[in-house]
Amino acid sequence: MKPRKIEMGFQEPDMTPMIDIVFQLLTFFMIAINFENTKADERVKLPKDMLAKPPDVKPEHELMLNFGYTRDKNGNRVPGIPPKVFYNERLVEIEQLTADLEQEKRVMELIHGKNVVEKVTVTIRADSEVPTGLVQQLIKKCQDNQFTKFSLRATAEEK
């Protein structure tokens, strides 16, 4: 009996379904990615509240200030260090913020014209454990630079 020659042909696996899955993943990430909240510093642990719903209308001009503690990798506060403003990769004390606020104001006036500062909403993202007095100091600092509209941020809490 002549042994039958077995054809060893390699079938190339059809790649089309795999590419379809890749497209599905790509579409998911394209939709899920959020480019708007780039100014929201992750180091700030916002207070949680049920009434904190994302606003229906975004403010026309916004200045976002992140104010919080430096924490270690477990999320615990590093003792002895007062809370600071996280501004452009630096840690700034409230008292030293004047120059930065003036710069922000100048840039906004250059882009949007004079008197825009009356329409700017300062959004304060402050850590839930910071003393209120410091938040009030920060607000006063902004008021000294002619900012008048303020908005306090909190995370939406799911009960």
Binding site: A32, M50, S151, L152
Partner: protein, 163 residues
């Protein structure tokens, strides 16, 4: 004139492999840039530079005070002269007191009512946010609608630190 035999339209092979490479590049870009953040909401506070430019008539004011110890923990929450306690239920009671004052949510007569928050310097910010939330309104669990109580909230001048 010799007519060249019209050859069959030859199949143009589009090289798919580089295109798939670009798709993978895009996928990796989006995967690395994805940042999952919890939705955040805003509470607007009214802090004009000049106190009451409107004139002599001051809108009715509700005074809410937050007293705390040196570590910032809440020791007492008061509205006017009423002490509401210092636990989570204190903020519920604040919510109910505000409702009593305004009558019903959305009451146009009380649109100008203003709440003045007076907090100790050390008082942790989260208590102030809770107080603002209790004054702002109430979330109906069933309809997920917010019934708004007071629109205007402002801060009293800051205290000095205790220590």
């Amino acid at each position: 004139m010799e007519r060249t035999k019209a050859s069959e339209p030859s199949k143009v092979e589009i090289p798919m492999a580089p295109m798939i490479d670009i798709v993978f590049q895009l996928l990796i870009f989006f995967m690395l840039n994805l940042k999952m953040i919890a939705p955040e909401g805003d509470f607007n506070v009214n802090l004009p530079l000049s106190p009451n430019p409107g004139g002599d008539i001051e809108p009715p004011q509700i005074k809410v005070s937050l007293h705390s110890d040196r570590d910032g923990n809440l020791t007492q929450l008061t509205i006017g002269n009423n002490n509401l306690g210092n636990d989570n239920a204190a903020f519920e009671r604040l919510n109910q007191e505000i409702l009593k004052i305004i009558g019903r949510p959305g009451n146009p007569l009380t649109k100008d009512v203003e709440v003045e928050l007076d907090a100790d310097y050390e008082c942790q910010y989260k208590y102030v946010v809770k107080a603002i939330s209790s004054c702002t309104g109430r979330l109906d669990r069933q309809t997920n609608q917010v019934a708004r109580y007071v629109e205007k909230i402002k801060f009293a001048p800051a205290h000095h630190p205790k220590g």
